[in-house]
């Protein structure tokens, strides 16, 4: 028996009524058109300007320099992220032996000191003797000496002030680090650092991995997001800037990030992803899962949906 014959048999004895599928579709499209055009005309859509490194360095120079120093010292979030950016030990999220992050390995290698600080400064140093000397002094120093300078400088940044658009700290043993940071801040303020972090040798650049990771390591971007209720612990996945609806359908995904033990675990992302994969699989296989497939019979919402049919038959 083919599908057409099965359907004929399935409907045998059932009262059939006139039905216009095309008319229903056209009417639905008409009503939806009114709703969508009305909402778009009345409420528009959000478009808060993107934050660039230039914006960040101009508005929060101390945060920018503090982040840049941590990139140079290898202590930033990105520097210690693990795969896919580097191979920091024990950084990959895992649930027991399950660690897709570790299995995938380092696919986008990033050396934060080189990629975010030293390489861009190499371009800026052309024709700039102060910066050239600072880079040479930094490169010639031992790793221990570099870390000592950076630790001292990072500590001093807690009391930094901004004077004439430059970050100023108390006198101390920082070696060439202040000159490097002043050079990077100047580069960022002009917008040149945004371009240098995008540059990859191709004519067109669309990969924003480096600038976004750099900005993500600072506090400026996340503070702006928190102000707009966009962070993970603020149901941020569902929200948009302003009062607009965002990805509201991610409510369940977002829910787990609000409650313990998920929101306090070091492997929250992996646990939530595994949980959501299991729940989605359960939803897909509902027709074959006892209890889940029986709930519709127990909860008589179908009596409401087909109330006229039940009343008349």
């Amino acid at each position: 028996m083919n599908a057409a014959e099965r359907q004929e048999k399935y409907y045998a004895g059932v009262k059939m009524i006139n039905f216009d599928l095309v008319k229903e579709m056209v009417l639905a499209l008409f009503v939806v058109s009114l709703v969508v055009i009305g909402l778009a005309a009345a409420l528009s859509s959000p478009d808060d300007p993107a934050v660039t490194i230039q914006t960040w360095a101009t508005k929060e120079p101390v945060d920018f320099v503090t982040t840049a120093a941590s990139e140079l010292a290898g202590t930033s979030e990105t520097a210690q992220y693990g795969p896919p950016y580097n191979s920091t030990a024990d950084a990959a999220q895992a649930v027991g032996p399950i660690s897709p992050q570790a299995w995938a390995g380092v696919s986008t290698p990033i050396d934060t000191a080189q990629d975010f600080v030293l390489r861009p400064l190499g371009f800026a140093a052309i024709g700039n003797p102060t910066l050239t000397t600072a880079l040479q002094a930094y490169g010639a120093a031992s790793a221990d000496q570099q870390q000592t300078w950076l630790t001292n400088y990072s500590t001093a940044l807690a009391d930094a002030t901004v004077v004439n658009a430059e970050v100023s700290v108390a006198s101390g043993d920082y070696g060439p680090v202040p000159d490097l940071m002043t050079g990077l801040l100047g580069l960022a303020r002009t917008g040149a650092l945004d371009g240098l972090l995008l540059s990859n040798g191709n004519l067109y650049q669309t990969d924003f991995t480096l600038p976004l990771l750099f900005m993500g390591d600072g506090s400026y971007l996340s503070n702006l997001a928190a102000d707009q209720h966009l962070t993970g612990d603020q149901w941020g996945m569902m929200n948009e800037t302003g009062m607009y609806p965002g990805q509201t359908w991610l409510w369940l995904f977002s829910f787990w990030y609000q409650i313990p033990p998920f929101n306090t675990a070091a492997n929250t992302d992996l646990v939530v992803i595994i949980l959501m994969i299991v729940l989605t699989a359960l939803l897909a296989f509902v027709p074959f899962i006892p209890i889940l497939r029986d709930i519709p019979r127990w909860i008589p919402i179908h009596r409401l949906i087909w109330r006229r049919y039940y009343r008349d038959s």
């Binding site: 083919n2 599908a3 057409a4 099965r6 359907q7 399935y10 009262k15 059939m16 009524i17 599928l21 229903e24 939806v32 709703v35 969508v36 909402l39 778009a40 409420l43 528009s44 859509s45 959000p46 478009d47 808060d48 300007p49 993107a50 992220y81 795969p83 896919p84 999220q93 992050q101 299995w103 995938a104 696919s107 669309t206 990969d207 924003f208 991995t209 976004l212 900005m215 993500g216 971007l221 997001a225 993970g232 996945m237 965002g246 990805q247 359908w249 991610l250 992302d269 939530v272 992803i273 897909a284 509902v286 027709p287 074959f288 006892p290 497939r293 519709p296 949906i305 087909w306 006229r308």
Partner: protein, 220 residues
């Protein structure tokens, strides 16, 4: 003198004819575009799926215009902003009614009598639609888009897919959003609709009838 009547010859193999016969047997036009339906179809719940498709038509139409003029256009142009607004609100309509359709079908146990594949394809459509919308939100080229990318990278990296699905790569996200994912969603909706029309609308739940698909009624 008599001539022997010629023996009927078997038709040569023809793939086109075979597919045409298969379609005619399983999905005749009167089932694909029915003008009669069972009396129990008279409920608002049956409208949710149609409204979701109407929303998707607006999503695609506004998305085609946005893609044509390029990702920067709507940030700089009033008409572009309006088209982007159409895109945003039609996406909301699409998802609201897709979810209503899903819950409606759940409480109607719409998978009964051989319709489990229809239900499962529907869940896959929902999942891929979420990914399609996600790449769209990332591709906005504004603060919301860049924050979502920065925030979401931890989940995609933890899942091990960050190595080939880089949410910080605008070019990749935009390409997936305007080509591959819409094609997948539309194709799957086509499959879903064909399955719906092949099997017809499920009967109301009978207290005596099991809610699970019986083996003999599953499609072969």
């Amino acid at each position: 003198m008599s001539e022997a009547s010629p023996k009927p010859q078997a038709e040569p193999s023809n793939w086109t004819r075979a597919i045409r016969r298969l379609l005619a047997r399983n999905l005749p036009l009167k089932h694909l575009l029915p003008d009669r339906q069972p009396v129990y179809v008279g409920s608002w719940v049956y409208v949710f799926g149609v409204v979701a498709i109407a929303g998707l038509i607006w999503v695609i139409a506004s998305g085609v215009v946005l893609a044509f003029f390029g990702p920067q256009w709507w940030h700089e142009n009033g008409v572009g902003r309006f088209v982007n607004s159409l895109h945003l609100w039609s996406v909301q309509v699409f998802f609201i009614f897709m979810v209503l359709h899903l819950w409606g079908q759940y409480f109607m146990a719409g998978w009964r009598d051989g319709r489990a594949p229809t239900w499962m394809v529907g869940v896959v459509i929902f999942a891929f639609s979420i990914v399609a919308a996600f790449t769209g939100f990332i591709s906005q080229q504004n603060f919301d888009g860049e924050w979502i990318a920065v925030n979401a990278k931890d989940a995609t990296n933890a899942a091990g897919i960050g190595s080939f699905f880089n949410v910080l790569n605008f070019g990749q996200m935009y390409g997936l959003h305007i080509v591959l994912l819409p094609m997948l969603v539309v194709t799957l909706i086509g499959v879903h609709l064909v399955l719906v029309r092949m099997h017809g609308v499920v009967r109301p739940i009978d207290r005596k009838q099991p809610a699970q698909p019986s083996a003999e009624e599953r499609p072969s």
